[in-house]
């Protein structure tokens, strides 16, 4: 394969203390596509996602074995800079978590952190802000109040802002952990639409407990159960003709 996979894990195991949350996960996420990760609550979806930008290790009692590569480069190892990992791999959470800064400063935050060149002029910053907000379909609503607090936005707008602030540092991979589950149906629809417009430009790994969402909004779909990857195929195939009987049981709603 000429193009390396966006994410490739090999025999990845993870323990929270003595509790093993992931068992021998081998998953290959294709670049430039949207891959959804489904499975019953507690099966390890968030754990897998968080391992990919190494948030899990903040808990002192987490231990892992196996490897994770992102675009062909290992993300675990002595030569790896955590800051670079976090820069290239953006993460969106269930609850929108904008910083208590203005909308403008939220968008510029990550960019300022990672900017190595000279300090940008006001005009360059305006450009960055506008481009990011346009990409997440938030520009028209916020262009007249960029100096206002981000926490005054609706949840839907906050979540879009949380996506927008990742973009200026040009990540290649976006990890989203149930990005719509705190939103109302209208917000869910709007954020799904946004995710779909980001397709191609970014590789997106999307955890969802909403099967209709996985079906609507993803190219590929991976099903996890009790810490293991059960099945991973194109979304269409997985939903129409699941190979593993457990996948079938789940998508037909037989696991709560």
């Amino acid at each position: 394969m000429a193009d390396p996979a966006a994410v490739q894990t090999q025999a990845f195991n993870l323990w929270y203390g003595t509790f093993q949350a992931l068992y021998d996960v081998d998953i290959t996420v294709a670049a430039g596509r949207i891959t959804s990760l489904i499975g019953p609550s507690g099966c390890g979806k968030s754990t897998l996602l968080r391992s990919i930008n190494r948030i899990t290790e903040r808990l002192g009692y987490v231990r892992t074995t196996g490897s994770i590569e992102v675009y062909g480069h290992p993300i675990i190892g002595p030569a790896v800079s955590l800051v670079q990992v976090r820069k290239q791999i953006g993460m969106v959470f269930q609850r929108p978590n904008p910083l208590p800064l203005s909308i403008r400063e939220n968008v510029l935050f990550g960019w300022k952190l990672h900017n190595e060149g000279p300090k940008a002029t006001r005009a360059q910053e305006d450009e960055i802000v506008e481009q990011a907000l346009r990409t997440v379909l938030l520009w028209d609503e916020t262009k007249d109040r960029l100096a206002h607090t981000a926490t005054g936005l609706s949840l839907e707008q906050q979540q879009k802002l949380c996506i927008a602030r990742l973009l200026p540092v040009k990540p290649r991979l976006l990890l989203m952990d149930e990005p719509c589950s705190a939103l109302d149906p209208k917000g869910t629809e709007a954020v799904e639409e946004l995710i779909w417009t980001l397709r191609g430009a970014y590789t997106i790994l999307l955890v969802t407990h909403n099967m209709a969402q996985a079906r609507r909004a993803s190219d590929d779909c991976a099903f996890m159960l009790m810490g293991r990857l059960v099945e991973h195929r194109s979304t269409n195939e997985l939903f129409v003709a699941p190979e593993d009987p457990r996948t079938g049981d789940y998508i037909e709603g037989r696991y709560g």
Partner: protein
């Protein structure tokens, strides 16, 4: 259909009783404070004049003003502030933002809380041993202020840490997940969101030390000095010790004089507290979010 039933009336009565109990306890707290302030104002008020604040005590401290003591107290508090704030805030930032939650951190936290309960006379002896004798600052403003600073430190650390921990964890995580280092997170998100709380706590605590007598008695405050201190290596008078001296050690002090001194002391503490509240309001106003 909607009339009160016996059980409702019974609950009503219990409700009134508890309300009364809590109100009574609040009054037990508030009334003495008001009485003290009232007495001070009534008996000490007539003493206060521009001359009282700007002249030195005369005639064996039975007449004249409080200028050297007033300036001395201000100097002691300022130097204590300068000494304790950087150390206390930095220690709190370390404990809250950097230190892992392990037995060592927990032990340190416990020690700090216990340190806050150490009687001030013990701090006085420590200050005498450490600053006056060991570091050879002599009995001086410096030694007395450092003693006050050591006394204020635990409380400064605790109040700062509380302000820091009031900043939601989600903000920190959002920063870290974008690749911010600890320090970048502290500088851009944690401190700006806790600075007003930190400053209020710090100023309140340090102004509280203005009233301390024991820690400065052995370390830098003089009974009576006919001149103003010229540097931090000089001794100084202080309002709290002056009040103690004229109330108990000097014969022939007119009745109102101690009340006047006490009123000045209370006034200066209130002034510092008001400044800290004004400062906090100003900082909050500057925040755009």
């Amino acid at each position: 259909m909607f009339e009160a039933r016996p059980i409702n009336r019974q609950n009503q009565t219990i409700e009134r009783i508890w309300r009364g109990v809590f109100l009574a306890m609040t009054l037990v707290l508030v009334i003495p404070v008001l009485v003290i302030l009232g007495v001070l104002v009534v008996r000490g008020g007539p003493m206060i004049s521009w001359a009282f604040l700007t002249t030195e005590p005369t005639n064996g401290m039975t007449e004249g003003g409080v200028l050297p003591a007033l300036l001395g107290t201000i100097a002691l508090v300022l130097v204590a502030l300068i000494a304790s704030v950087p150390v206390g805030v930095a220690a709190a930032v370390y404990l809250s933002e950097y230190a892992a939650d392990n037995w060592l951190t927990r032990t340190i936290n416990l020690a700090i809380i216990n340190l806050a309960g150490v009687p001030s006379i013990v701090h006085a002896l420590f200050g005498l041993g450490a600053f006056v004798l060991f570091f050879q600052f002599g009995t001086s403003i410096l030694a007395a202020s450092l003693t006050l600073a050591v006394m204020a430190l635990p409380v400064v650390i605790v109040s700062t840490r509380e302000s820091l921990q009031a900043v939601p964890m989600a903000f920190r995580e959002a920063c870290w997940n974008m690749g911010a280092t600890r320090w970048q997170t502290i500088r851009t998100v944690v401190l700006p969101n806790s600075i007003s709380g930190i400053l209020t706590g710090v100023i309140l605590e340090v102004s509280r030390t203005a009233g301390e007598t024991a820690p400065i008695m052995f370390t830098g405050a003089a009974f009576f000095l006919p001149f103003l201190p010229q540097s931090v290596y000089d001794q100084t008078m202080a309002l709290s010790l002056h009040l103690f001296v004229i109330s108990t050690q000097v014969p022939g002090v007119p009745d109102g004089l101690p009340y006047g001194v006490a009123l000045v002391l209370v006034g200066i503490v209130l002034l510092m507290n008001s400044v800290s509240i004004a400062f906090r309001t100003w900082l909050r106003g500057r925040k755009k979010w």
